[in-house]
Amino acid sequence: MKRTLPIVIVFACGFFMIIAFFIPLRGFQDVSQTLQNWYIGVIAFFVFIGIFNLVKVNVDKIQRRLRDWQYNVILLIFLAIMMIAGFVGRPGGGVFLYLFENFHIPLGATMFSLLAFFVASAAFRAFRARTPEATLLLIAAVLVMIGRVPIGYYIWHGFPDLVEWIMTVPNTAAKRGILFGADLGLISMALRVLLGIERSYMGGGKE
């Protein structure tokens, strides 16, 4: 039961959905639509379990007084504030929106802008044309960096067209080739899952 039932479920759901794709009869379409809608319902619980685990991990760190546990307290406090603001005051409520606009947005927006600085230092210290391949990459990169911003057009009016050509010809060709490879990889993985060969997603391979 513990072993077979999950394999039966993944096999039955998967192959039913595939077969139903080819059979336009109302019954088949309705059942696959229902399965999809249930999927969305179930997926929502994945998020709740994720948040539950986040709390568990953090409480655990605080209890065991692991290094920097004080920061985990801050995390939990803000998680609680946000949840109370949302569930008590509703997501349209002032406090929830205030937190979203003045905490969530600036922090999220700033985090990855840090990379702009690291790109600069890497540009100076690490991006080297050591091989013919790397040279080609850097030349294309420099052309795109100049040709895709207004200064490129200012320097030479043909720049935007040159970059557009790079994007629509060699870039499209290589990206398409990579895409075909990746699709085959995905389809083969999906098939292994449906056949029950691939089970690592069920959790660490233990019984």
Partner: protein, 273 residues
């Protein structure tokens, strides 16, 4: 110690200061470089221009604050264009924070054109379930959408009643920062239901979209802040994106200089050996 050797060894935080200045100074003292228009952006603009009044455009806000700087200006510019053309906007989001950010843009633009909520535009909020949800949504919207983002029953809003399936959607615009996003709109929605898709993506994702432009699975593309600046120029609403283009240009020049300088060091070191 040679000057080039010293250049490589010095603290990278000095480079950080250079970058900060290259961003700040052009914002304070704008140069006003003209923004050139690329074809993929023009195609989006032309498609919106060609839609008859009252057409329903799905605006899917599939990003979060992490990409707000790149995609929010595009959101505003695109909405401005839709409302000016009297198109109806059906907003949703595949990312939890998307519809809230989209709503900020709606609140900015809709009053300018006296648009009424529920009739001319609607926001149905966050839709979980990613690709699977899109397959389901295209066949029967009512299965998934019961209320709008504020909890109002969807049947009480005229525009909510008007959209029953993918057939009622004339164009989908996805403002996309990753997964789920434009890829899923193309292969899970458009491929099944034939709805045309246009997109504004982060610059990181933009090169990845060219195969779909070439296969016409995508109508057009606004790539990153530059794409937004082009759209702002086309709809004659110069705002944050155009303002940022001077800084963008200067920093790019600076980085190209860094790459060239860095590689000169490499050449020099090789020759020394």
């Amino acid at each position: 110690m040679n000057i080039l050797d010293r250049l490589v060894k010095f603290d990278r935080r000095i480079l950080f200061v250079f970058v900060a200045l290259a961003v700040i100074i052009p914002l304070l003292i704008p140069i006003g470089l003209p923004v050139d228009i690329t074809r993929p952006v023009k195609h989006v603009y032309d498609r919106v221009e060609s839609l008859p009044e009252g057409s329903i455009v799905v605006v899917s806000v599939d990003y979060d604050p992490g990409s707000e700087a790149e995609l929010y200006p595009a959101t505003e510019a695109f909405l401005e264009h839709c409302f000016r053309k009297n198109l109806r906007v059906y907003m949703m989001g595949l990312w939890p924070a998307g519809p809230k950010l989209g709503n900020m843009a709606l609140e900015q633009i809709a009053p300018k054109y006296n648009k009424e909520y529920g009739v001319d535009y609607i926001n149905i909020g966050y839709r979980p379930g990613g690709p699977v949800m899109l397959v389901s949504l295209g066949r029967n919207v009512a299965d998934l959408v019961r209320t709008d983002y504020a909890g109002t029953p969807i049947d009480s809003l005229p525009l909510g009643r008007a959209v029953k399936s993918a057939r009622d959607m004339d164009l989908v615009m996805t403002l996309s920062a990753g997964d789920p996003g434009v890829l899923h709109w193309i292969i899970y929605f458009s491929a099944r239901y034939g709805t045309p898709i246009a997109t504004a993506t982060t610059a990181i994702m933009a090169p990845q979209q060219y195969p779909y432009l070439s296969s016409r699975q995508l109508i057009g593309l606004l790539g990153g802040l530059k794409g937004a600046a082009e759209y702002e120029t086309l709809v004659e609403r110069k705002a944050r994106a155009v303002a940022g283009m001077d800084s963008q240009s200067i920093v790019h020049l600076l980085l190209v200089a860094f790459i060239i300088l860095g590689n000169m060091v490499l050449l020099y070191q090789r020759r020394k050996k």
